[in-house]
Subunit: 438 residues, 4 copies
C-alpha cells in the first residue's frame, strides 16, 4: 500500500518540459567534467523536515496530515514512516538520505527503550537501503529536543546529561557505521547560552573539547572511514551557539588539536544568520582546510530565524558549486536538503515540488559552474591581480627574509609610492552572469 | 591663546550637581576595591574623532569649524592641533590618549615626508606629555585611509603596498615605544574583501600571518613591554573583514602560533555589528586568554554601521566592567573613547559633554560592578549550577577516564535519567538590577 | 489546594530588601504626580505565556511541568488553570490580566464546542474577578494557531475562514465587554504573506478593511466603551505582516476611515523586530494620535525573532514612560507583560521572579520619568531648539502664506544664509542619565 | 577632446559575445509585448555616483582620478563634467539621465551664486540634450549635503533653512520642467532624526506636510506634467528617516491629502534596509496606487548601509519587472541606476562595466518577465487560490451585507469547519525558475 499512490518516479524530461514532477535539468548520469552529475552532487533528502515535522510553528499547531504521522504504537509508526521515506527517496530518484537517531526511532521513556528501538529501526533502514540502493550521506544524534538538553548536551552543567549525550552519539555513530554512512555530523543545537549571567564559557568550552576528543577517538576505534563534521550555527534556539561559523569552529578545533580530525557541514541558512554569505562560508572553510559537506537550503534575507527553505537561486548556487569544484569537489560530503516545505504546503505533492525544484537548481548550478571552470576567466583575473607576489619583493617577504625594520627601510630608501589598481568587481560580476545566462 | 577659553577644568562635584561640565560620579582618586578609580579605568580620549574628523558623513560635508582645523602649512596646523588636544585632555582631566600616526602628523606626499613629519610631531607629543602628565594608552598606524590601501594593507595584492604598511607600522611602533605607550594596536580596516570573485582568502591570510609575525618580532627586538592588540571588526568599510570577532581572531592567532603574543582590543560597536553583545565579546576574549583593552563606545541597535556614539548605558557597562574585574582588571589596557559627537554637535563644548557623560557612566559602572563583586551572588549561583562537575562522574569525564563507549555504557547500565533544572535567568537579571539600582 | 503553596503575597519592602520575592520599587499606592503608581502603570499579567505555554520551542519539547498543565477533561483542566492564574495574580499583587479566547477555554472540535466552552469559562473568570478584584485589561481572539488560519484569518483566501474568525472575534468582544475589559486587541499573527507569488496584496487589504469596519461597528452596537487596538508586528510567523509598525497601521486606518476608531497596542519586541526603537514606536503613535496600550517585554538585540523576555532595562523604560506621561498617560491602556520566562526557567517560582523584576523596573522607570517631567529640562531644550518657528517667518510658512515661489524669492532676495546649530545630543543624553542615576 | 577616448559606442552583440563592452541582452529596439525594450525600461544613468563621487568613503580618501574631477574654476569644471557625462551617456547608449542641482552646478557660497551657476548649467544641459537626444528622467535638489541641512531641510528647526530648501526645490523643479524631465523626485536624506530627545515628531511632520503641499501647488502652477515622487529610505545618514518605506509614505500622504498627487520612487537598496524585499516594496506601492519609478541598484544582504551596487540579479529583477508589467508598466517612471562602482573600481572603464552589466540584467529580466506574463500561470494559480471570494458568501461579505454578529451567527449555525489548503509556494517558485532558466 503506497504512501504516494498518485506519484510516479520523477524523471528527467529536459528544459522544455512543463511537468511540475519532472526534472528539467537534473539528468543523473550526464557527464560533467568527467563525472556523472549524481556523483558531483551526492544529493540527500532529510528525514526530519520531510517525515517528522508536522507543520507546526511557534504560533500554531501542525497543518500536515501525513498518512505516516498518526497515533499508534510508536515503533509501528516508525516502521511505517521508514517505508514512506524510502518510497519517497525512490520515487524522487535521490541517492542519499540523512537522519537523527530520534527521527527514525521512538525515543521511548528511558535510554534502554531508546537503545532497543533504535537498534530495531537500524535493521529496517539497512533492509530499505539494500532494497532501494539509497545510501546514507550521514547520521547524527538529536541531543537538543529532549527537555534534559535544555541547557546543552556536552556543555550541560550536569555531567549525567553529558553522559546521556555520549550514549546517543555512541549509538548514532555505530548505526552510521553499520549503515555505511559517508559522514557523521555533530550539530550542537543547544551548545550555547541563554544568558552569560549563568554561563561559564571557559568551562563549557572544555567540556565540548573533551566530548569532541572522545568522538574522534571513537571514530578511530570503530574504524569509521567517513568524515566527522561540525555544523556551525550562530544562534537559535539559544541566544548564542558556540559553533557560530566556520572561522569560530576552526579556532575551537585548533585549541583542542582537532583541526585535522573534524571538518564542517555548512548550511546556507546558518551562514546568513551569522552575517555571512553562503559563498563566504564555503570559501572560508576551504581556505582553512576544513570544508566537508553542505546543508542545502536558503534563509529569508528579511527574516532573522532559520526558515530552511529549499534552495531556489541558481545565481547563489552556481557560486557555491564553483567554489566546491575549485576545492576539488566533495570527498565524503554532499548536498543534503535540510529544507522544509512551508507550513501551508500541506499536501504530500508539495514535498516533491520542493525537492524537484531544488535538485534542478543544483543540477543547473553544477552545469554553470563547470562551464565557468573550464574557461576559468575568474581564476585568470585573480592570478593576474596577485601577480606582484610572484616577483622578488613578494617572494622574499613571504619567505621571511625581511624584518619589519628591514622592510620599512626598503620602503623608505626606495621611496616606494605604489598606486591602487582597479579590482574589476563589476567586470567579474558580469563574467559570472555571462556564464549563468549564456 | 587657549582653544577652549570658556572652559575650566572639569571637576568632581558629586551626584547632586546640575552642572553639565562637572563629574557627578567620576572621582578619580576614590578608592574602589583597593585602587583609585583612575587606575581601574585607565580612560583615554582619542585623537581621530575629536581632533581630526570635520563632521562629514557620506551624504554631507563637515559641519564643524574647529579653531584647530584650518588651512595653512600642514605641520603648523598639526602643531596647533596637538596643543588643542592636550589642552582638552588636561581640562577634561583624562589620564590617557590614543592616536594614529596620520592623526598627529601630516602624511605628506611621500614616505619621506611622512617620516619627517611624524618624527617632528613625536617630539611635540613627548613635550606635551611631560608638561601635562597625560600618558599614551596606545598608538597605531592608519593603513586604511590612503587610496593605496583601498585593497588592504598587509593583505594587499601588491607587495609594495605591504611594504608601505610595514614602514608605517614600524614608525608607529617606535613612536609608541618612545612615548611610553602601554599598548600598540592593529586595526585592519581594509584587511578584508569587497568581493570573493577577486579574492584569494588563503593567500591573503598567509600575508596577514607574515605581517603579524614581523610585528611580534619587532616588538621583542625593541623590547616593547606593552601588549600588541588586534581590534576585531566584522565589516565596513569592506564587505567583510578578516578580524571579524574575538573568536575569529583567536583562530587566526593559533594558526600562526601567535596566541600568546597578541591580544584583542574590543570595541562595543564592532561587537554588535558582528552580531554579538559587547558583554559576549569581553567574556569570550577573557575565556580564551586574549583579552587586552576596550574601545568604549556604543552603536545604534537599529543602524547597521559604525556610529561610534559615546557609551551612555550604565546597565551595559556594569556587566562589561564586572567581566573585566573578574578577569583581573586591565593589565596594560584601558577604556579608550573611540567615540564621536554627532555631526550636529558642532560646538567645542559638545566634545566635553560627550566625554564627561561617558566618564561618569564608566565611573558609575565601576562602582556598581565592584559592589556586585564584593558580595558575589552571581558567582555563587553560577558555581552552584555547575556543582555536578565537582562530583566523581564529572571529574572523571574531564580527566579523560572515559571513552565515548565506556561513558555510553555507564549511562545505559546506570539507566541515567537526569532532569533539567532551572537556569534562574530572571532571578539573575533581577540581582544585577538590584546592584545597579540600589 | 493552592498551586503556589510556598509563595506568599509579594509585598513592597523597599530598595534595601534582599528578598527575591519582594518589590523593591513597586509600592502600589505611592503617589507619583498626583496618582498612585498602580493607576499610572495599570500592569497586567498575560494568560498565554504564563499559564498556557509548556516551555517548548521549535527545536524541543516543553520543559515545564506546571501542576495545571496535565491531561484530563479539557474543561476541567481549563477550570484548574483559571484557579492557578488568579492565585498567581493575587499573590503577585497585579491589578490586571489579559487573555485570548483559546487560552482560557478549550477550543473543542467545532465552533459549537468552542462557543459552549468559552461561555462556561467566562462565568468562571467573572467569578474569579469578583473574588479577587483583579480586572481585565483586554481580551482578544486567537485567530492564528488553528491550522485553518495558516493563510490568515480576515486576509484568508477562503471566506469561510474569514467567517470563523468573525465568530471568534464576536465571541471574544462580547466576553471582554461582559468582563469589564478596558480594551479589545486585534493581533493579526497570520495576516500577512509567506510569498508574494501566491498573494494579492490589494485584495487581502480590502478584506482586512472590511473586517475592521465590522469590528468597529460591533463595538458601537454593544456600546463597548474601551479602545480597539491593533498590535503592530512586522513578521514571524509570516514572512511579512500587514501591521508592520505604527506608521503602517496609521496608513491602513486612514485608507478605511478608521483612524479615529482604532489605536495601537505597541510591543517592545515587535518594535525592534521592525527596525525601530521601542521609544520610536511610542513617540510615533503618540504624534499620530493613535497611542493606546503597551505590551511590555524586550527582545534580544542580537536575535531576529520574538524572544518576549521580561523588560529589565530601566534606561529604556524610563524613556518609554516619559513619552507616555507626556502624551497624557494611559487612558484605557496599560502595561501588559507579554513576556515569558526562558525555557530553562522551569520552576513556578521563576514566573514570580520574572514578573516581580519587571514590575520593579516599571515602577522605578515611572519614578525616574516623573522626575524628568517635573523639572522638564528636556522639553525646555526642545522648545528652545524650535523657537525659530514661533517667529514671523515660521508662523507665516505654517499658516500657508507662502507659495514655493514666494518663499524661494524671499530666500534669494534676503540672501538667507542660515547656519546649523548644535543639536546638543550628548548633553541631552547626560540629562537623562542624571535623572536615572540621581 | 574626448573623456573616454578608447571606448566606442556600446552595441548589442547577442548572448554569445565575449566582449566586456557589448550588450549581450539589451537590444534597444527589440519588440517585447508590443513595445521596444527601451520604452519598457526607460533606463537612466545618474550624475552623482558616476560623475561627482570621488571614490571616498568614511574611512578613506577618494581613489578615482577622473579627468573631469580636477581643481580649477568651479563653473569650468562643471562644464567639463557635463561634457564627460553626455559623452558617457551617448557611448553607453542609455536614453535618460538624472541629476541633483548641485551635481551639475557649483553650489557657490551664496544662494545668489547657486542660482546663477545653476541657470548657466541648465543651458549647457539643454544643449547637450538636444545634441545627444538623451532625455531627463528626473531632476531633484540636494537638500542634505550642505552643513546647513544637518538637522533636515523641510523638517529643520530653523525656518530659514526651510526657506533655503524651498529655494533649491523651486529652482530644481523649474529646471526639470525646462529640460523636459519626466518626473521630479524628493529624497529627504536628512528629514528624520538623530535622537528623539531633541525632536518633535508631530511638529516636523507638519512642516514636511506644508512643504509637500507647496511643492504640489507649484507643480500645478507651472503645469509640470510629470510625476512628483518621494523616495522612501528608512535611515542613513540619520538614525531614522520619516519616509521609511512605501507604506509609511502612503500614511503621510493621506494625512495631508496628497495621496493622489505624489507617488514613490522605490530604491532596491532602501527597500532591503527597511527590512523588506525589493519585490515587496514594488507590490505594496502598486497595490496602494502610488507606484512611480525605480532606483535600480542592490544592497549587500550582509551589510547594513547603502552600498548602491549595480543590480546584477536576473532572479530578483525578473520578479520586480513582472510586478511592474502587471501594474501596467512605467508611465513616467523608469529604471534609474542609482548605482556606483566600488571604490576599488577606479578606472573609467569600470563605469562602463557597471552600466553594461546592469542594462543587460534589466533587459534579460524584461524578457523573462514578459514570458511569464504571456502564459500567466502565476496569475492563474493566484486566481484559483482566491476563487472562494467570487462565491456568494465572499461577495456578500465584501459588499457589506454582514455585520460581525450576523456573520458569526452564520458560522455557528452552519457549523462551518473550513480546512486549510496548500499555498503551493514551492510549485510557484519552480514556475518562476522555469521561466528564468528556460
Amino acid at each position: 500500500m503506497p504512501y504516494f499512490p498518485d506519484i510516479d518516479r520523477v524523471r528527467y524530461e529536459g528544459p522544455a518540459s512543463d511537468s511540475p514532477l519532472a526534472f528539467r535539468h537534473y539528468d543523473a548520469d550526464k557527464i560533467i567534467l568527467g563525472k556523472p552529475m549524481r556523483e558531483h552532487l551526492r544529493m540527500a533528502a532529510c528525514y526530519w523536515h520531510t517525515f517528522v515535522w508536522p507543520g507546526s510553528d511557534v504560533f500554531g499547531a501542525g497543518t500536515f496530515k501525513r498518512p505516516w504521522q498518526h497515533s499508534g504504537d510508536p515503533l509501528e509508526v516508525a516502521i511505517g514512516k521508514a517505508e514512506a521515506a524510502f518510497e519517497f527517496f525512490t520515487k524522487l530518484g535521490i541517492d542519499y538520505y540523512c537522519f537523527h537517531d530520534t527521527d527514525v526511532a521512538p525515543e521511548g521513556s528511558s535510554l534502554k527503550e531508546y537503545r532497543n528501538n533504535f537498534a530495531q529501526m537500524v535493521d529496517h533502514l539497512e533492509r530499505h537501503q539494500q532494497q532501494s540502493g539509497v545510501k546514507l550521506l550521514w547520521g547524527t544524534a538529536n541531543c537538543f529536543s529532549n527537555p534534559r538538553f535544555a541547557a546543552g548536551a556536552a556543555s550541560n552543567p550536569d555531567p549525567e546529561i553529558f553522559a546521556c549525550a555520549a550514549a546517543q552519539v555512541f549509538s548514532a555513530m555505530n548505526a552510521t557505521q553499520r549503515l555505511g554512512g559517508a559522514n557523521y555530523v555533530l550539530w550542537g543545537g543547544r551548545e550555547g547560552y541563554e544568558t552569560l549571567l549563568n554561563t561559564d564559557l571557559k568551562r563549557e568550552r572544555e567540556q565540548l573539547g573533551r566530548f569532541m576528543r572522545m568522538v574522534v577517538e571513537h571514530k578511530h576505534k570503530i574504524n569509521f572511514k567517513g568524515d566527522l563534521l561540525i555544523e556551525p550555527k550562530p544562534q537559535e534556539p539559544t541566544k548564542h551557539q558556540y559553533d557560530y561559523d566556520s572561522a569560530t569552529v576552526f579556532g575551537f578545533l585548533q585549541q583542542f588539536g582537532l583541526e585535522n580530525e573534524i571538518k564542517v557541514n555548512i548550511e546556507a541558512n546558518h551562514a546568513t544568520l551569522a552575517g555571512h554569505s553562503f559563498h563566504h562560508e564555503i570559501a572560508t572553510a576551504a581556505s582553512l582546510g576544513i570544508f566537508g559537506s553542505i546543508d542545502a537550503n536558503r534563509g529569508d534575507p528579511q527574516n532573522g530565524w532559520d526558515t530552511d527553505q529549499f534552495p531556489n537561486s541558481v545565481e547563489e548556487m552556481t557560486l557555491a558549486t564553483y567554489e566546491i569544484l575549485k576545492a576539488g569537489g566533495f570527498k565524503n560530503g554532499g548536498f543534503n536538503f535540510d529544507s522544509k516545505v512551508r507550513r501551508q504546503s500541506l499536501d504530500e505533492i508539495d514535498l516533491f515540488h520542493g525537492h524537484v525544484g531544488a535538485m534542478d537548481v543544483l543540477a543547473l548550478s553544477l552545469e554553470r559552474a563547470a562551464a565557468m571552470l573550464q574557461n576559468d576567466r575568474l581564476q585568470q583575473l585573480k592570478d593576474q591581480r596577485y601577480a606582484g607576489w610572484q616577483q622578488p619583493l613578494g617572494q622574499r617577504v613571504l619567505a621571511g627574509e625581511f624584518t619589519l625594520q628591514s622592510l620599512a627601510e626598503h620602503a623608505f630608501t626606495q621611496e616606494l609610492n605604489p598606486q591602487a589598481v582597479s579590482g574589476r568587481q563589476e567586470l567579474l560580476e558580469n563574467v559570472v552572469n555571462q556564464f549563468i545566462y549564456r
